[in-house]
Symmetry: C2
Subunit: 203 residues, 2 copies
Amino acid sequence: MRVVVPVSGSDPKTRLAAVLDTDERLLFAEAMLGDVVETLAAAGYTPDVVATGPIDCPVPVTVDDRGLDPLVNGLLDDTGGDLAVVMADLPLLTTEAVQRLFAPDTDVVLAPGRGGGTNAVVVRHPEFRVDYHGASIRDHRRIAREIGADLAEIDSRRLATDIDEPGDLAEVLLHGDGRAADWLADAGFEVVAEDGRVGVTRN
Amino acid sequence: MRVVVPVSGSDPKTRLAAVLDTDERLLFAEAMLGDVVETLAAAGYTPDVVATGPIDCPVPVTVDDRGLDPLVNGLLDDTGGDLAVVMADLPLLTTEAVQRLFAPDTDVVLAPGRGGGTNAVVVRHPEFRVDYHGASIRDHRRIAREIGADLAEIDSRRLATDIDEPGDLAEVLLHGDGRAADWLADAGFEVVAEDGRVGVTRN
């Protein structure tokens, strides 16, 4: 099965602009991508990285500036619906989580992300197509139902934790031990107690 | 093993005050507690609910107004360190997630929550004690290390999703199918697309 990691190489992670400048956001996106690619490789998968622009990565990168939906749906066309898509901003990913993602022998496997997203999908059905806008997990459940595909969902905090907003950075420092966690620590970020959940501060 | 669900019966869920009034917050807390208690029961566990004040619940409630740390550490004293603690605000809990929590045969099992919390802990060691303030997951890892306890962590989005803030409510509507999800829907809450992750609106 082909495993694709799509990533933005052009002005990535704009929702982190309040805490990281443009260059830093690219470097942090590259660190997260490195974590994802290395973890997939450690689990026995060889991912294809497809970026909208130049981005540094441990494996060769294909540049393709189609949007996410046309890109993935084009690859679903090309492969006859035999494709896995794993997002590039999952720096807490572990080999165990990857193995759990590929374990169910169902037509479609979804890994929900926080806030209605779909952080990973495994497709073994010729008719399944993606729609990443809005509450995509709901749309993907509906699409699977409409084509009669049997569906599994993976209950993984590590697959669910995509890093998009400043409030997400604490998760990387608390639970990560790879490139992204190292990059944040080197950039001076630390976990601080706030009212309720912890946050981060930068020295 | 004794399984305890501690819950605030006095002015619960204050961080939801922007979207729910005082009475509603108690009703919503009761709905979430009902989900947790029923799911534990369905998984074969009989939880003891310990509340700081009166709260409606499908099982008998013991009122104990000690703070969370003195309460749990007192129970660890009483039981010789043979205790599980599951938080009351985990309405996405499933029987599978409960089974995974109790599966590791380690001295200590931790289920991290979003933002550094510890949403569930299973203790089989006489010296382990809890400290729920701040980034408790870090403290609990440290305490386990200091007493030489072997430790497992459960990678579960459902165990990680405690409901404390308005931004968490979308998770209940997107992924829940129990009392809490029904309560929110009956109260007029709906998922809406926002910039990035989805949120909720109330009709």
